[in-house]
Amino acid sequence: MSGLLAADAPAHLAWIADRLREMTVEVSGPGGGGAGVLWAPDLVVTNAHVARAPRVRVGFADDRQVEASLIASDRRADLALLRVPPVEIAPAASTDSDTLRVGALVVAVGHPLGLRRTLTAGVVHGFPPSRSGSRWIQADLRLAPGNSGGPLADTTGRVVGINTMIAGGLALAIPINDVRRFVAARAASVT
């Protein structure tokens, strides 16, 4: 136990939290709002139910507010892609979400109930099937409205999912492998 919880573990988690908070944006617009993940210097990924209008506002950690345009949205997958003026913030690093195991530690960043860039931690609970024929990442982790569209990350700080729903007190996130396919297909067709 003492070997597992070496003294630098908390510091490491705090470092991860700082990185994640930097690349988590606020998304607000008519009919929706929540969080988003800076995917590339000019691209933000969020949920379709968060970005419901062709033009929405995106806020960064340094309080900058920019206008973003919705370049792709898939209601069924609940994913949306926003174009923002390029920023000099390091975008999210993602990993292979298929390697995630039940019991692994995960953290989420979002704006639950308007509390900006709040971090919550928990463990992977399971991988139930989703409506779209894929699987959710289900986590024993506290989310609230405002977390939608924000990152779920592993202990290396790499994003493994996009927090999307709360069901039965559990967090449901879209696996980042699905998100990567969504972005690859849409971003290619608009650039």
Binding site: M1, L4, T156
Partner: protein
């Protein structure tokens, strides 16, 4: 840098290790619970998830279905021990729970596997009212539907308890592994779990302040005897209606539920000191704990 990653990997490994000896227990309508292969042929689950007089089936991790019989129950601890012919599955790595401390990281595991994490929040759900550490731990984690009867594991995947949401209305609880092993030992030795029995019916009462002062008690309540079964251990020892029971074997009795906690199966055949107030005067009565007669 690596320690948090190591911890995360350890937790995932712990879940994987524990999941190998888990069954889905179908002992009630709709929602299956979780059972743990405790030793060869014996599966432990939460008693409230196995309805009486019901056929019980188990689903193994590989999808096989087995039939099981209830070998014994301890409703006080909410534990049922099932018997089934199990082949090719490892028994749980049951670990000494005496090293558990408040604050230790633990996981609850359900079939699937599914997991939730938290910490040990108290070594006795009874809030330290008893002197000895209790058989029931309080844990600060979420027991999701179907988790009851599943293992509470430490960061190395060793089973230190059985989780249940049925033992307390407000708290998430886990029965210590050592208490569970005592119950399975009863089944191995005698084929069943004896139910300790005094033969009294009780109601809670508030103790008047002057009586508390006179008897030197800190508890605010006790139980009053409202019924004594004929030819029961209590009747043989001379307990009568109206006696106020304040403690048994040195453990405070503040509510009827405390009787269940004191009357563990190991007490059967033992003489225990019952402290009562009769007509406002303290007395001590020796009662030899009997075994509850079979129903019907």
């Amino acid at each position: 840098m690596t320690s948090a990653v190591d911890l995360s990997n350890a937790l995932a490994g712990a879940v994987e290790r524990a999941a190998g000896s888990l069954f889905a227990v179908h002992g009630r309508p709709r929602l299956p619970s979780t059972g743990v292969l405790w030793r060869a042929g014996l599966i432990v689950t939460a008693s409230h998830t196995v309805e009486p007089d019901r056929e019980v089936t188990l689903t193994a991790p590989d999808g096989r279905t087995l039939s099981a019989q209830v070998a014994g129950r301890d409703p006080g601890l909410d534990i049922a021990v099932l018997r089934a012919e199990v082949a090719g599955m490892p028994a749980a790595d049951v670990h000494d729970d005496s090293e558990l401390r408040v604050g230790h990281l633990v996981l609850a595991v359900g079939t699937g596997p599914r997991a939730s994490a938290g910490i040990v929040s108290a070594l006795d759900v009874r809030g330290g009212r008893q002197r000895e550490p209790g058989a029931m731990l309080a844990v600060d984690l979420t027991l999701y539907p179907g988790f009851s009867g599943g293992p509470l594991v430490d960061v190395l995947g060793r089973v230190v308890g059985i989780t249940t949401s049925g033992a307390s209305r407000h708290l998430q609880c886990a029965v210590r592994a050592s208490a569970v092993t005592r119950l399975t030992d009863h089944v191995v030795r005698g084929g069943r779990i004896p139910r300790a029995y005094l033969g009294i019916g009780t109601q809670p009462v508030v103790l008047p302040n002057d009586l508390r002062d006179r008897l030197g008690l800190t508890q605010r309540t006790a139980v009053i005897v409202v019924n004594v079964a004929p030819e029961s251990p209590a009747a043989a020892a001379g307990l009568v209606i109206g006696d106020v029971v304040v403690s048994i074997a040195g453990q405070a009795i503040a509510e009827p539920g405390d009787l269940v906690a004191v009357l563990q199966p190991d007490r059967v055949g033992q003489a225990v000191a019952v402290s009562i107030a009769r007509g406002g005067e303290p007395r001590q009565i020796q009662v030899t704990v009997g075994e509850r007669p079979a129903r019907g």
